[in-house]
């Protein structure tokens, strides 16, 4: 280990407070510096570690930046065709109802090409968890406009800003699925500050615990940044997200199930 400015007596195993979970694989993440995907992956794996369900969890990775999620998450994963993750998760959950099944999708995957699959899986009330990473842009393919792009927001296919008259309005998927009777828990979180990361982790924990009650889809949206697509530094992108994304996509629980004693 390299030399440290801290007292070496503190750096001992019995004083350990926080360490990257070993449910994340050793491989270095392929995401850009500062991307929220890394944090979202890690808190998801921490929840699975705390619940002790690594052997019983099956994830479905989407198409997009997180298409390689199976290289980073140390659980069983299945790749889905673009947007079809909720349909595949439906099949997995129906064949193996005792497993914990989740999909991990971006906004291009879930809110554009996969809108039909998402809405119908939520409407059928499949007992799965859908994790929706919303950064308002198609990150992997070069920052094109997505259904969730904000009004006036510049992207490579809306260089003068999104004009709502011709390009439509940003789609609030989370509010949309909350109106469906098949969803039991719908929430919107973020992972850019320590407090938000803790809240998002609690939401993910609730979402996974609800799968055992078999009362419908638990849907967790995580508003995230795309500093490469937004052409900003990571810290500036987080500030921009707070100022511009959160007024349109307010954080908080939208639908919570009744508590049982």
């Amino acid at each position: 280990m390299a030399e440290t400015i801290f007292d070496p007596n503190i750096i001992k195993d019995q004083n350990l407070v926080y360490k990257r979970t070993d449910h994340m694989k050793e491989k270095a993440l392929s995401y850009c510096p500062g991307c929220g995907h890394g944090t979202a992956h890690r808190i998801l794996m921490e929840v699975i570690e705390e619940m002790g369900i690594q052997e019983k969890t099956i994830g479905v990775s989407p198409v997009g930046c997180s298409v390689l999620a199976y290289d980073f998450m140390n659980v069983d994963m299945q790749g889905a065709a673009h947007g079809r993750a909720p349909a595949l998760a439906t099949a997995i959950k129906r064949l193996m109802p005792d497993k914990f099944v989740f999909t991990y999708q971006g906004d291009g995957d879930l809110a554009a090409i996969g809108t039909a699959e998402t809405i119908h899986a939520c409407n059928r009330g499949e007992h799965i968890t859908i994790i929706f990473i919303n950064n308002g842009i198609y990150g992997m393919t070069g920052g094109q406009m997505a259904p969730t792009t904000l009004p006036g927001m510049r992207s490579s296919t809306s260089p003068y800003g999104r004009d709502e008259a011709t390009m439509g309005h940003p789609l609030r998927m989370t509010e949309l699925v909350a109106t469906l009777p098949g969803t039991c828990f719908v929430t919107r979180q973020a992972v850019h500050t320590p407090g938000n990361v803790r809240k998002a982790k609690r939401a993910l924990r609730t979402a996974f615990e609800l799968q055992t009650r078999k009362i419908g889809v638990s849907f967790v949206e995580i508003v995230s940044n795309c500093n490469s697509g937004w052409k900003m530094t990571p810290v500036k992108a987080n500030t921009w997200m707070e100022e511009n994304m959160f007024p349109y996509y307010p954080l908080g629980d939208i639908k919570v199930p009744e508590k049982i004693d």
Partner: protein
């Protein structure tokens, strides 16, 4: 009250220099190195030893490169 001392260990080769940990630290412990790692990023490093072991930096780090320790004096 016993004083709490913390320490962080940063895996500098995995760090991508995104600087998200810098504003997350309440004690302003973390800064960016003038050196670069094998990937060419200016990695995060502790500037002084005022760390309280709150783990905020480790929790927001997208790449999970920070390990946190805490002990009472």
């Amino acid at each position: 009250m016993a004083k709490v001392k913390g320490a962080i260990v940063i895996d500098i080769q995995r760090c991508k220099g995104c600087e998200v940990c810098v504003p997350a630290c309440p004690k302003d412990v973390i800064g960016m190195s003038t050196n670069v790692n094998n990937k060419g990023y200016h990695y995060a490093e502790p500037k002084h030893d005022d760390c309280i072991g709150c783990a905020n930096c480790a929790i927001v780090c997208p790449d999970g490169v920070i390990t946190v320790y805490r002990a009472k004096d």
